[in-house]
Symmetry: C2
């Protein structure tokens, strides 16, 4: 029995009670090389009891490297599960997003093979069998799904996220359920529609952020359930850092921009459904909105974090749709529970395939806001690879929303510090070292220096606007020097739609790697690579 | 009176007949600096009489550079209109796609400011007012729309394409209509649904390629019509080149791949709706399908070219949805007209905002196939800029379909010739010089060397597969040398999720520019850019 009741309180399907066992009892079901599907999304609603028991089993029996799995999970999960698995060399492949020091290290050292995919595509590709096509069954071998409860006929009531539970069930015949009694039941918050593969794919009939189009549970054939484990672990939601000065300046710029768009009748007075990424700037935007002039707001996004509670409390937010309720364990979740009735009927939790679906994002016209690692002067953004080769987390849902939004916004500090130079990294560069979002997708770039409205601008006009409005003063001249030099050279040769000088295009990034700063002495090239 | 009847046969709205005038009569309506919207799509259904009259006016009166316009057109139009305008310095800005020697030259020399946008986004952004936000009215100043006819209440029956006619009408108060009597009326072939801006955007209820969800005309307030001009010009549709040996090898690979997917139950026996780009390879794929083992096929694409008639004639294609009917003037169109009853009820022509809408592409699960300029070993593709700076045509709809498809396929020859080396350009490179499609989007790469199935592969596995299966023998070793060197270096430094060496990443492209071949002597770097 957990803090929030007994297993019997949650499992309303009596014929499944003979599947109840401990987490340790399930260990024998796991074989080296299996394809595993987990519930969970950016860390909420992920299985904990079984993964932790398995990690302990490996540690106790020195099975590191001998029990390795391919992990398919909607997004990241708590470090106590996947990151501990990474530390124990229990992961071969991992799709499509992760967070954790050990797992990132293992990926960047080549010990874990990670695939980084738009989350909405991951969900459907998992169901299509793209990730399991080379296995004998063509299916996932085993799934671990955390639930709040089980209905009378064996259907699943998810916990704090829905993630890819529907797709896992479609493509897996053996399911371990973790019934979490350490957290309250989230029954009633979900809206589940299971999409079928084309040519039978359904219309997703969402026309407002809080439209309900499905059921509050995930249909499941009970014969697939091979174990029911009671879980006494809580989600390890992270607390957010407070907003810094730069983030507040960005949020102010954005709110002013929204006000101007409303005045020009390009946005309605209550804006359009907001999608906002994770991090300090997103936080500042939400805080700004909580004190701002816009009412009757709605949110259509993938993760709800603590800041959203402020926006609800301000009386300005009517409703929010998300894939997960990722409140912090010590602050957000207790606050949510203390006022649950107020919040609950304003929140809809959806499967990843719906929360991130471009069909819905485009129809609703979301205002998509995300933070890249770097962005270039033509509007290409790197969201995933520091230095162009080292993965941080993954693209997540940024592409799902940015590509389909009504307004496609990227916000970033103009600079970041290095060990030796407080403005050693310019987030505005001549050419991004990795491109996750293209010039064809972005409308607006904002830094604490200002806002660049790229709508209707040709590439060379875009470059001038981004450098002038968004680059840090330490880099403005340097960037403009490069751009003018490239422009002059390429136009003269009649190849200047989007000018670049390929022998020095990455000089700022190379200088950073060598000298700890992107401030270059000059733009000279003292060599010829192709003698 | 044209070859296909009189103006009276086409204009069923008698109260508009007092707006009839000659193309020359409209010249006074055009003022320097205006924002113009044109009908037309990849060249079909574009206005001809008025643009040609205006070009003649400029030529006769030496007004080159004094009468310049911003042109917003669904995609490219015939060279006799926009390219002649470019030659006469009549274009300031041009969105979102173009073809023509003079216009491309002017863009790459900086005389025309072109913006290159996903076609589906262009359509909606035009209606949102993003391109006209800095003008006084916030709207297009004048539109020229070719129609087959006008209904009794003033609604427009498009000609061989729908393009962005609905969006132009939403955002323009003065419309010149060209009624084309030199070509037959295309009445009945269109299916028009006008999308409204969020939060009032409608569900697009298409569930099959040939679903009809709208009207056969475009609603239009007749008071907006300022002129009706009879046009005696025909669309200049281009004839396609025959398929070469390499293209046929690519088509064979793809057809075998489809057969395997059907066998694995990942594709139905009649495949899924096909989207196919333009060019020799697309042509070969269509020819291959016309002799292949798949029946009851459907097509959901943006351009229907001559090859599609073969596929219809083969009895294998049930229906096709497109934005335009771009048949060649001398071969395809006569063939279509000779057997019009057979073809017409199998073809639906839609507005660009519907034909290219990701909502529909994803629901139907299109098989998206397009040809890039180059593709890199991790699966990033350059579709727009040769040498990373010189625009060819634009991204077109490739992103609309590739990002939302069921299978996302890129096909390209493995090499192209230069003046001095028949295999001087490798289309497989370490890093694409411009990225229009990211690694997160592609499933399959095919060259005449073979097919790389990237589904479920992490970046380093992808690189090995693409180099081994798709690179030309002249480049296989060179590419693998680079990759292994980059992999060793980056993994050792713990930054190897996607290995690259930034000081020599573009060495193949730099060598091409300098020595006319991508074959490099070695991978050395004889310099330090950042001393």
């Amino acid at each position: 029995m957990g803090k929030y009741g007994t297993l019997e309180d949650r499992v309303h399907c009596s014929f499944l009670m003979n599947k109840v066992m401990t987490a340790e009892d399930t260990i024998g079901m796991f074989k080296n090389g299996m394809n595993l599907g987990w519930s969970g999304f950016t860390p909420a609603g992920y299985p904990k009891a079984v993964p932790i028991a398995l990690a302990e089993h490996v540690e106790k029996n020195n099975l590191q490297g001998k029990l390795r799995f391919n992990l398919f999970i909607g997004a990241s999960v708590g470090a106590e599960t996947e990151d501990r698995w990474a530390q124990n060399d229990m992961i071969d492949r991992r799709w499509p997003y992760q967070t954790g020091r050990n797992i990132a290290k293992a990926i960047n050292e080549g010990r874990i093979r990670m695939g980084d995919k738009h989350l909405s595509l991951f969900a459907q590709d998992l169901a299509y069998g793209y990730y399991t096509k080379d296995s004998k069954s063509g299916k996932l071998d085993l799934a671990i799904i955390e639930v709040s409860g089980i209905t009378e006929d064996g259907c699943l009531i998810p916990s704090a996220s829905v993630g890819v539970i529907p797709e896992i069930i479609q493509t897996c015949d053996k399911i371990i359920l973790e019934v979490n009694t350490a957290m309250p039941s989230f029954e009633g918050m979900h809206d589940v529609m299971v999409l079928h593969a084309p040519p039978h794919r359904e219309i997703i009939g969402i026309t407002k952020a809080d439209s309900r189009i499905g059921s509050t549970f995930v249909p499941c054939d009970p014969s697939k359930i091979v174990a029911i484990v009671e879980s006494d672990y809580t989600d390890k939601g992270r607390e957010l850092a407070g907003a810094d000065e730069g983030s507040i300046a960005i949020a102010d710029s954005l709110l002013n921009f929204f006000a101007d768009e409303v005045k020009a009748h390009r946005l309605p007075e209550n804006l359009l459904p907001l999608q906002s990424g994770v991090g300090s700037i997103a936080n500042a935007v939400v805080s700004g909105l909580a004190k701002g002039p816009f009412f009757n707001l709605s949110v259509y996004t993938e993760v709800l974090q603590d800041g959203m509670l402020d926006l609800f409390d301000s009386g300005r937010l009517n409703c929010a749709s998300s894939c997960s309720l990722s409140l912090s364990e010590t602050v957000g979740m207790p606050r949510f529970l203390a006022n649950r009735d107020f919040y609950q009927d304003k929140i809809v939790l959806r499967p990843l395939s719906i929360s991130n679906n471009p069909e819905v994002a485009r129809r609703l016209g979301v205002i998509a806001m995300n933070t890249p690692i770097e962005i270039d002067m033509y509007g290409h953004a790197n969201s995933t690879l520091v230095g162009g080769t080292r993965i941080v987390n993954g693209i997540g849902g940024s592409g799902d929303f940015l590509r389909s939004g009504f307004l496609k916004i990227m916000h970033t500090p103009s600079v970041r510090p290095t060990k030796t130079d407080p403005t050693g990294i310019s987030c505005i560069v001549p050419h991004a070292q990795h491109i996750d979002h293209t010039e064809h997708d972005l409308d607006i770039v904002v830094t604490e220096q200002g806002l660049a409205d790229l709508r209707g601008l040709a590439p060379r006009d875009r470059a001038r606007t981004i450098i002038n409005n968004c680059a840090h003063p330490d880099y403005k001249e340097q960037m403009m020097d490069y751009f003018l030099m490239a422009e002059k050279d390429c136009l003269a040769r009649g190849v200047g739609h989007e000018p670049q000088l390929w022998d020095r295009v990455f000089k700022m990034q190379l200088n950073l790697a060598k000298n700890g700063t992107m401030k270059v002495k000059n733009w000279d090239v003292k060599m010829d690579l192709c003698e």
